[in-house]
Structures are given as structure tokens and as C-alpha cells.
């Protein structure tokens, strides 16, 4: 009996992921080869034209270009901010009590509504928003700037707002494990703060950076909600293209597009793990 206990305990978890994750995922692979019509949205078949459509369409390349661009920009910004925030919390906040308090201060917004946090940029960035009024008041611009909201800029800002925390937490976690005496040793040996940061701390928190990066990249690659709300129909990312197809009930093309997206995400994650591993070996 005792031998079977772990299996019984893991059974509910396994069943949930078989039924609602693995099976649906396999189904997406299968229906990406299905045919479809306006009145019959899923016709079992084995055709390749969904993929042909994806690869022959100019729209695909445009959406991938913009999504990759978002990925690179958002990754760079969240990494720099996330690293220094975590570094501050771990190495510059002295008492545990303050560390916890400041950490909570950063994490609590994470638990409030995502849509509300996106909508909350409207009174700031809108045509008559605070930023535009301030810019006009200061005489920096004479007319309201339209590129602040419902633009690529707004989408990137939204991503940074929503996802920086996903970079902070794993890096924070890695930094906590660093033996402080290593930092002292580097300082005693004459290293400047920058040198300590780059040659001691940064290499030691690589696992945290890798985890944070995987999170941010995966979320930006698949996102359509932020693009919907803050892009305001002006911006088309891959996720948005898929969700648009779904809203027209075009499941098979959406599935084919999803498979390509998934391939891209997996490639990026592998590339990331490679970079981390290679550096470890050097």
C-alpha cells in the first residue's frame, strides 16, 4: 500500500494536466491540419494549407517582427530594472523586516487586476492625459502627442509595468543565496563596485536571470491582452493575430499559427539556456 501512496497523491495533479494541458496541446497539433468552413469550424482532415497560409502571408512576418522587437526591448528593460531592484533589496536593505516590507510593496500590485493596471495608463497617457497636459504646460510640445497611448510605446510600457516583477523575484531569490563574504572578499581585494557587480554578483545570479528571462519572453511572445488594451487596434503581435483568428472562429489557422509561435518560444528558451550554460563552462 505504502508503495502506491505517492502515485495516489500525485494523481489529481496528473489528471488535471493530462485533461486540461497535454490533451488540449496535442489537439492543437492535430487541428492545425484540419480544414474549416464558415458553418463548420472544425473539419477533420490532413491538409497543410494552414501552415502554407502562415508562411506565405506577409502579415505573419510583420507580426513576428513586431513581437520579437517587443521581446528584445522588454527583456532588456525588465532585466536592467529587475536586477538593480533585486540587488538593492538584497545588498542595500539592512534588516530582514525592511526587506520583507519593501518586497511586499513591489509584489502587491502583482495581485491586483491586470486589466485595471492597463486601463490605469489612460488618464496619464491619453490625449488629455496628465503627461500631455504637463508637456504642453511646460511648452515642450504645442499639440497633444498621439503616440503615447494606443501605440507600440504604450504596449512596451504596459509590459514593463506588468512583467518586471517576474524578473525581480527570481533574481532576488538567487541573490539571497550569495555568500556575502564573497562580496567582501572582492571589495577587500580592491574591486570597485562595478567590478564586484559584473564579475562576482552577476555570474552567481545567472540561474535567477535565466528563469526571469524565460518568464518575460514567454509572456511577451504569447500576449494578446496588453496589445488589445494598450495597442488599441494599432498594433498587431503574434498573439493578437491568433486571438483575432479565434474571434472569427478560425480554429485551424489559429492552431497552425500557435504551433509556429510555440516553436519560436521553445527555440528562444533553448537559446537562452545555451547562453547560460556556455557561460558557466567558460
Amino acid at each position: 500500500m505504502k508503495k502506491f501512496t505517492p502515485y495516489l497523491q500525485a494523481l489529481p495533479l496528473s489528471l488535471v494536466f493530462l485533461a486540461f494541458f497535454l490533451a488540449p496541446l496535442c489537439l492543437v497539433v492535430v487541428i492545425s491540419f484540419f480544414d474549416y468552413q464558415a458553418y463548420d469550424i472544425l473539419i477533420p482532415d490532413f491538409v497543410f494549407f494552414n501552415y502554407e497560409d502562415v508562411f506565405s502571408s506577409q502579415v505573419t512576418y510583420a507580426t513576428y517582427w513586431i513581437t520579437l522587437k517587443f521581446c528584445v526591448i522588454v527583456w532588456a528593460i525588465t532585466f536592467v530594472i529587475g536586477f538593480f531592484i533585486a540587488y538593492f533589496l538584497v545588498f542595500h536593505v539592512e534588516t530582514m523586516r525592511w526587506q520583507i516590507a519593501l518586497f511586499l510593496l513591489c509584489t502587491i500590485p502583482f495581485w491586483t487586476s491586470i486589466v485595471i493596471r492597463m486601463i490605469s495608463w489612460i488618464p496619464l497617457l491619453g490625449r488629455n492625459g496628465l503627461v500631455n497636459e504637463a508637456l504642453k504646460g511646460l511648452g515642450i510640445v504645442s499639440e497633444s502627442q498621439e503616440w503615447l497611448l494606443y501605440s507600440e510605446f504604450a504596449v512596451v510600457l504596459g509590459y514593463v509595468h506588468l512583467y518586471t516583477l517576474f524578473m525581480v523575484v527570481p533574481i532576488f531569490n538567487s541573490l539571497l543565496r550569495i555568500d556575502k563574504s564573497l562580496v567582501e572578499a572582492a571589495t577587500d581585494a580592491g574591486a570597485s563596485t562595478w567590478q564586484t557587480l559584473l564579475t562576482v554578483i552577476l555570474p552567481l545570479c545567472k540561474p535567477g536571470i535565466a528563469i526571469g528571462s524565460i518568464f518575460v519572453i514567454a509572456m511577451v511572445m504569447g500576449d494578446f491582452v496588453t496589445v488589445n488594451v494598450l495597442g488599441g487596434g494599432q498594433v498587431a503581435s503574434v498573439g493578437k493575430a491568433i486571438s483575432t483568428e479565434l474571434s472569427y472562429l478560425q480554429f485551424p489557422p489559429a492552431a497552425a499559427n500557435s504551433m509556429v509561435l510555440l516553436g519560436a518560444v521553445i527555440l528562444m528558451i533553448f537559446a537562452l539556456m545555451r547562453i547560460v550554460d556556455i557561460r558557466k563552462e567558460l
Binding site: Y7, F17, F21, L102, S113, I116, T193, V265
Partner: protein
């Protein structure tokens, strides 16, 4: 504490980092704060500043039937769904956490499946579940298909928390219970469960709030009746009055209340463990 040794860097560094942190906190909280402020906009006020007076007008408007969107229906569904997901996440994560203490066959596979679900683009999961129910001819409902979709998002977090908990869990307690004649179930019920209970509150918090805010995985799996985040997303393109800010304030308040309750409960339980748990060495020996 030897502050100079643990905080490397000159004064410039210290001030620079403090300014960065302060700016980051303002960046995180500022917009949210403005929305809450604007939800008290006067009856003639609009979506942006200035405030045309201060009133509860838009909160009262929330109680009226809306031209667009089913606010209270979706609100109710989101809360019920969140509670269902919360309970399931706690139970399933706890059991799985117990299971993963032993190396069982297939444990690596299950673990990778869970992690894959965490980083899988949500739109793909949503599409798969939606299409699956469609093909099987089962109607998509918020408390069936969307419940499953939410679990694929909350359980990875729950499981990772349980891993962290059981990594630090001293197996001697459970062994001692067994040596004293407790059955496996008794040892878990009376020894393991009380010790990990404060962490289970953390799992519950993740379960509820991640579900309450979920939107991407819900989109294709929810069926005809929306949850609150989906309703909000639909509303924000059409609603041009601060009523949406009022709704935002209400839902933000609810999130903060849930976090507050969870943190307080966790703190109380930790306190009680410290007081009650420490009598082991102070007996009549």
C-alpha cells in the same frame, strides 16, 4: 549590523539605488492610485483630470443596470470561480507536494508538464481547451472548461511553493509521529498539515488571485458567460465614463482585502506555532 561590509558601493551608489527603487514603486503604484482617485470624479467629470468635484456618483452608477456589460453577474462568477480554483489548488498542490517528496516513476515527466504549462503561451492552452470541448460536443462553461484552464495556471505556482516548503520541512517530525504509532494518514493530518498550514495560505492566495485576474486562458474556455476581467476588457473599449474606474477601484479593493486577510492569517498562524510549538523542551522533565 556591519552595514559597510554588506552594502558595497559608495554613497552615490546607495542614493542612486534608493532613487531607482522609489521611482519603481511610484511607477508600479502611481497609475493605480490615479485611477482610484478618478473614480471619485464628480458627475460631470470625464476619464481624465481635472476632477470636476468629488462624489460617489460613479460607484452608485455601478449599481444601476449598465448599457454595456454584465458587471455584477461577471463579478459573482469571478469570485465563485476564484474560490473553487483556490480550494482545488490548495488540495491538489498539497497532495502533489507530499507525493514529490518520494521519487516515484514518472515524477520527472509530471514535473516538466507542470513547468511547461507555466511558460506555455496562454492563448495556445485556451485554444486547445476551447477546441477540445467543441469537438467533444460539450458546452463550454465558466465552471467546467474555464475552471480547468485556470488550474493549469495556478497549480504550477502552488506546486513550486509546496516544493519550497517541503525542501525545508524536517522529516524527523513525521518519523517521530510514525514511531509513536501514527498511521500515515494520522501523521499527515496531525503533524505535517499543521506545520505547513501557513504556507498553504500562500498557495490559497496565489490560487484565488491568479484565477480572479486570469484573462488569456479564460478567453476561449469560458463559454457564453464572461468572468470579470473579460467583461472589463470588453467594456474598456466602449465605456467612456469613470464608471469603469469605479469598478476598477472596487476590484482593486477586493484584491487588496484578500491579500490583507491572507497575510494576517499567515502571521497569526506563524505566531501561534511559535507559542504552542515551543513547549516541547519546556515540559516536566
Amino acid at each position: 549590523m556591519a552595514s559597510a561590509s554588506s552594502a558595497p558601493g559608495s554613497r552615490g551608489w546607495r542614493y542612486g539605488l534608493r532613487i531607482l527603487f522609489g521611482t519603481f514603486v511610484v511607477f508600479l503604484w502611481g497609475p493605480l492610485f490615479l485611477v482610484i482617485l478618478l473614480s471619485f470624479q464628480g458627475p460631470t467629470g470625464g476619464l481624465t483630470f481635472p476632477m470636476n468635484g468629488v462624489s460617489f456618483h460613479w460607484f452608485l452608477q455601478l449599481l444601476e443596470p449598465q448599457p454595456i456589460g454584465d458587471i455584477w453577474g461577471s463579478f459573482e462568477r469571478s469570485i465563485i470561480l476564484g474560490l473553487m480554483v483556490m480550494v482545488l489548488t490548495v488540495v491538489i498542490s498539497f497532495l502533489a507536494g507530499l507525493a514529490f517528496r518520494a521519487r516515484f516513476k514518472g515524477s520527472t515527466l509530471v514535473f516538466y508538464l507542470v513547468i511547461a504549462s507555466m511558460i506555455m503561451p496562454s492563448v495556445v492552452v485556451s485554444l486547445g481547451i476551447g477546441a477540445g470541448f467543441e469537438l467533444l460536443g460539450i458546452p463550454r462553461i465558466w465552471f467546467t472548461s474555464a475552471l480547468g484552464a485556470h488550474l493549469t495556471w495556478t497549480l504550477p505556482f502552488g506546486l513550486l511553493i509546496m516544493f519550497a516548503v517541503f525542501n525545508r520541512f524536517n522529516p524527523a517530525y513525521e518519523e517521530a509521529a510514525r514511531d509513536l504509532g501514527a498511521t500515515g494518514f494520522q501523521a499527515i493530518r496531525h503533524v505535517v498539515l499543521p506545520i505547513v498550514a501557513p504556507s498553504l495560505i500562500g498557495v490559497a492566495l496565489f490560487g484565488f488571485t491568479l484565477s480572479y485576474d486570469e484573462i488569456a486562458r479564460t478567453s476561449q474556455s469560458v463559454g457564453p458567460l464572461n468572468t470579470l476581467p473579460l467583461e472589463l476588457q470588453a467594456m474598456q473599449t466602449n465605456v467612456t465614463t469613470p464608471v469603469i474606474y469605479a469598478l476598477g477601484s472596487v476590484t482593486t479593493f477586493l484584491s487588496l482585502a484578500v491579500i490583507g486577510v491572507a497575510l494576517t492569517a499567515s502571521a497569526i498562524m506563524h505566531g501561534r506555532q511559535k507559542r504552542k510549538g515551543s513547549d516541547a523542551g519546556s515540559g516536566l522533565v
